[in-house]
Amino acid sequence: MATTSTTVGRSAAFSKRAFLTILGVLIGAVLAFRLGQTIYDQVWGPEVWIRNLINGLALGAVYALIALGYTLVYGILFMINFAHGEVLMLGAMAGFFVLDASINSGFLDYNTLLTIVIVFIAGMSVAVVVGVLLERIAYRPLRGAPRLVPLISAIGASIFLQNAALQAFGANVKIYPTPQITGLSGGQRFGDVFVANTSIMIMVLAIITMVALVLLVNRSRFGKAMRAVAEDKPTAQLMGIDVNRIILLTFALGSLLAGMAGVMLGFHNRQVTHMVGFMPGLKAFTAAVLGGIGNVPGAMLGGFFLGLAESLGPTAFQIPSAYKDVIAFGLLVLILIFRPTGLMGERLSRERA
């Protein structure tokens, strides 16, 4: 009996794996064929590829910053902070109001760089406050509850913040008037390729931030404590680590990155509404899963991967750009089917299992 059932189990497992393999090979073959066709037929000039590569890197850098927030929180609490996009939105809003005030007061005119720095600080500070309040009000009271409960609370918080912002700030679009800010307007020309200054700002700032974050997580006392808490909360307490404080600081750190991303998007895309956090939040969540949720390098890889896929995918496979969201979420489905643990998550999940 036992032997029989084992055999059946094995053959079922085998056929599932065979099916997945065949499916994977088929999808891969179709994509490779299409890509080959695009390249062989020289559908696009090289500058299209390069421009979209740069667009993708800038987009990916923003996704990566946001995805880090999801992954840090997931890593430590095993919950998806679905209100993360709204933290970003409120950061972008705060940045807008400070920028607006500095324009109206004339401060911007004689101190551009300082204004930009202050706008970033304002956006990040507000995001941190919102993130910390979220943790205290919406998540901490549910710490011991089944995992679905804080998830629902997070979705509720997200809708609450969206609507609160709508009521408080109105539905009209807020404009970051980038062209009036010297240094952020225009761009640089490299041969045939023009790169917007905001794209350069995003990439440089994001990369510096990510390097700093990796150092913080790997090298600092706080980073190590955070990793210890993520792994084993009771034992971390025995070491003298205040787990609640580390969780709060983790939320603060994730929110700081979201606030930064919000202000970046404000400068880059100029338009801010109460809904600007929604799509980037969803995409960054996808990026975090893509990279292996809970994994810091994974979130960054996932962010860039998704940004590039979105911006190069339509070019590579000759499909309308309107399909970029289809590509993004299609990737999510594929990853969940073929590599549920994400690109960099495998070892960890096995260990935990």
Partner: protein
């Protein structure tokens, strides 16, 4: 004995939800002592250690460390009062390196020179850890993990060290080594409360011992006397 004991537990009751795991446990550990706590599986030994460190706060009773009341002190603050614990099953941080695990042990300490001396001491006690200081904790062998767990506790420079079944799952030769190290640590000034199912080894090491049964202390005596106790012999030393 006029000086107050280092650790004093008075009439401790601890519950999991509404199930009592400890029902009025009283126990002391004096300065410089090694005290063994023996008992069958499920007797409440781990619960007692977790109650002392604040991980499962008691519902009733009192705990004093050097005369200071520990009730209500959050778990992360207990270590600052000189209590370190080697938890059951080692519980090292599997994704942190050996060195980082040891750093976590010294998380609350700020005197870098003193911490460095602790590092040196741990690497002296466990040269294997020195060889593997950059290795990821999860990839260590069982014995190495136990060394790391003990080393990590030493890093806190505790006045009182709580050990929860350090011999569990280890080869006899390793058990001997671990027990030798415990004695070593004790000689250097830390008092020790040692929880063991391996009663024979524990009582050989200890000055005094307690027997815990279903959440209550049933026997308390000098270690030598306990070893000769008929009841103890039957119940806990039978196999040896």
């Amino acid at each position: 004995m006029t000086a107050p004991p280092l650790l004093e537990v008075r009439d401790l009751h601890t519950y999991y939800d509404n199930i009592a795991a400890l029902r009025g446990v009283s126990l002391t550990v004096s300065e410089g002592e090694i005290v063994a706590l023996i008992g069958a599986n499920g007797a409440g030994k781990s619960t007692l250690l977790k109650s002392i460190t604040g991980l499962t706060p008691p519902r009733q009773g009192e705990i004093f460390m050097e005369g200071r009341r520990l009730n209500g002190v959050p778990a992360h603050a207990v270590v600052r009062l000189g209590v370190a614990m080697v938890p059951e099953g080692r519980q090292i941080f599997g994704r942190l390196s050996v060195y980082e695990n040891l750093e976590m042990g010294a998380f609350t300490r700020t005197d870098t020179d003193a911490v460095q001396r602790s590092f040196d001491r741990v690497f002296e006690l466990f040269p294997r850890l020195a060889e593997r200081r950059e290795q990821i904790g999860g990839t260590l062998s069982g014995g190495e993990q136990q060394m790391l767990a003990i080393g990590r506790a030493i890093m806190a420079a505790p006045r009182l060290l709580l050990l929860d079944e350090p011999s569990m799952g280890l080869a006899p030769i390793l058990v001997q080594q671990i027990f030798r190290t415990i004695r070593e640590i004790n000689r250097e000034g830390a008092s020790i409360l040692l929880v063991e199912q391996n009663a024979n080894a524990a009582l050989s090491l200890a000055n005094r011992g307690y027997v815990l049964r279903v959440g209550q202390i049933v026997i308390e005596d000098a270690a030598e006397a306990l070893k000769e106790n008929k009841q103890v012999k039957e119940a806990y030393l039978g196999g040896h």
